[in-house]
Subunit: 302 residues, 2 copies
């Protein structure tokens, strides 16, 4: 098998990440089928994808003519047999519930051809946890996207049983779809960029939980130096403060590290107040139009 | 005293940071005097400042006419009496040797008017260590710049004895010189952005010392997502791997944290090989023209 054998790409899960991932795959010339158990989710995806493309066009990462051409290569189905038929490469973006992922991988293992490469876009789980469920451990690995409206970086992370040949095919697939593959030699929870950002969240939270500086000034410092459009607290609002609390609580319990313990106490107040971030319109910032998106945010300090 | 009483700004130390800091101060309309004990260092500064301004112009952070006007407001002297006379605000950028800073602050305390505000640009030391040496603890705090060719962010960090009035004057001074002041409520080693980046270096080093991914792929991931012109390893080459080793070794000894211990062992190989970073033309990358400055660096992965 080689890269030229890949023709049909199947995205499992029609959420935000599934929608985002379909775009570079279709732009690379692949036939993309988005599968979801919910027809309603598929309808939302068909509305969401043009919005994502508009954001990419605004960021000069896509042209209108590219958008017009690629959208024709994306179809949707809630029929797993239709999705699985002749699938060459699958990318899984279902919710981060291990039992659900096991179920979906087992289901598609039975329906897909033997040759189909299985990849997962999981953010927080390791592929070795699902290698058996795929029924094809040597043809399974992580292919992990970031926010495709702002970056082309993808992590390619094998588990110990992934074959070298499949890693190379997935690397070439990433390149053909315009991505920058980060080639990991072994598993690491959080991959590469997100692993580093995890440490940024810990230090950012520690600065405010110790009352060293305000939430806004931390983000101002980050945005002012990196020129990114958001800082750690803006990103955490997007991740969800419930998720941030669970992760922080887990490491605080495990390591008893004073900074993590203090951060967990700090985040708990947000959980108790129900201000869980962007999804409920209130977290560290209020939404829509959070302060950090205001053109004068950096100057406000002045 | 108020912001309008500030007219003459004195930079102590004509090194890279002293040169950089002189530019926004002069751009803000202040008379800037750079003092250094070494006439040779002052001569180098007079060559270095136009190079820094050229980089700022290239980055669209300064216009040629601004550059032509501001350079006339910058003078140099190796005579401490001349520097100190009528000084309104001092920023200290001498080497990070505590005894040297104490000596310079004590010397200028005797020479300067009582009203002169003393600030330090130290990266790694806390202002409380030098408050007594300034002879004016209530008029002393950190005013810490980053790389002024790429950012306007400055940390304003008081020690427990700094007066609120002086903090406010220095905040207004930062604003008048085009900076984004990050207002810290108390001391924190590493300030705000650098404190977060310290955690990035630890995680980045851990990824390569555990052989998860290459140096180049860590920087590619960072640069590809943040769109910064360098990643953690490029920055560490600029800081100097001897400095990185000493800091890592210090925390490894103190905390016995496995990641820090492994990072210290990893960095020690670079120290033993004498590859200390950009200053010796070899560290994680070779200089000049390190791989990450190549326009195809991100695409090379493809």
């Amino acid at each position: 098998m080689n890269i030229n054998d890949i023709k049909k790409v199947v995205i499992l899960g029609a959420g935000t990440m599934g929608q985002q991932i379909s775009i570079p795959c279709a732009l690379g010339g692949y036939d993309v089928v988005i599968y979801d158990i919910s027809e309603d989710a598929l309808q939302k995806a068909l509305k969401g994808i043009p919005e994502i493309m508009a954001a990419m066009i605004a960021n000069k990462r896509l042209t209108q003519s590219e958008a017009d051409a690629l959208i024709k290569r994306i179809t949707t189905t809630s029929n797993p047999e239709v999705a699985a038929k002749d699938a060459d490469l699958i990318n899984e973006s279902v919710p981060e519930v291990p039992e659900l992922k096991v179920k979906v991988f087992s289901q598609f293992n039975k329906l897909c051809p033997e040759r189909t490469i299985f990849t997962t876009n999981t953010s927080s789980l390791l592929p070795s946890k699902f290698a058996d469920a795929t029924g094809r451990p040597e043809k399974f690995l992580s292919l992990h996207y970031h926010d495709t409206t702002v970056t082309d970086v993808v992590d390619i992370m094998p588990h110990p049983g992934t074959s070298k040949e499949i890693i190379e095919i997935v690397r070439q697939f990433a390149v053909k779809t315009g991505q920058i593959p980060i080639m990991m030699k072994k598993e690491n929870s959080g991959y590469v960029f997100n692993y580093m950002m995890g440490a940024v969240y810990t230090t950012a939270l520690s600065l405010v939980s110790r009352n060293v500086v305000s939430v806004e000034d931390v983000d101002r410092a980050w945005m002012g130096v990196t020129h990114m459009p958001y800082g750690p607290f803006g990103i955490m609002d997007n991740i969800g403060l419930d998720t941030m609390y669970h992760v922080t609580e887990f490491w605080a319990e495990k390591t008893q590290e004073p900074r993590q313990l203090q951060n967990a106490v700090y985040l708990k107040k947000y959980i108790e107040a129900g201000t869980l971030g962007r999804k409920v319109k209130k977290g560290f910032y209020t939404y829509p139009n959070p302060a950090y998106e205001h053109p004068d945010f950096l100057k406000q300090a002045k």
